[in-house]
Symmetry: C2
Subunit: 100 residues, 2 copies
């Protein structure tokens, strides 16, 4: 089993976990305070996740304020679940892994 380096990165791991748990769209602002990232940084991480097909990003306006909402995709959920399984494996020494 292999680590998913896209998901493993700490900021993205927080984002993916939050989205996975929420199971519904979350706002940019929410993710920002949750992850502690700056605007630019968060935008870039979301681009990475979107590029991987793990999240979708929708922009609309509420009244006149822009709103960006992020939702985890099916592929994202699967990749996340797989990575969590990988972590469990590694952390519990469950892998008897001798790759030699």
């Amino acid at each position: 089993m292999e680590a998913n380096e896209i998901i493993h990165q700490t900021v993205r791991l927080k984002i993916m976990s939050a989205l996975n748990t929420a199971n519904e769209a979350m706002e940019f602002t929410r993710l920002k305070s949750l992850s502690g990232a700056t605007d630019g940084n968060l935008g870039s991480h979301l681009n990475t996740l979107e590029g991987a097909g793990y999240v979708t990003v929708e922009k609309d306006f509420v009244g006149k304020k822009p709103r960006t909402r992020v939702t985890i995709t099916k592929a994202g959920k699967q990749a996340f679940a797989r990575h969590v399984a990988y972590l469990r494996d590694v952390l519990e020494g469950a892998s008897t892994g001798d790759a030699s």
Copy 2:
């Protein structure tokens, strides 16, 4: 709670987890096959971990062959346990964290 970036890196996470589980010295060669890292890379990761005080590295000779053995320290065990707790927190959405 904060991520431990030293431990979080995938190769080092594997190493720390293996050492923590083994609870005794492990050989360089073993860690190499286990982590999949190249010689140089593994050496450098071990330096990082040693520099952080998470492992001790002992060199000796068995017969005439050099042997490097790596052992997790008390501080290493603590840091590892804390990071695992952090991961559990993040992964289970246990942190209601709003850092705003």
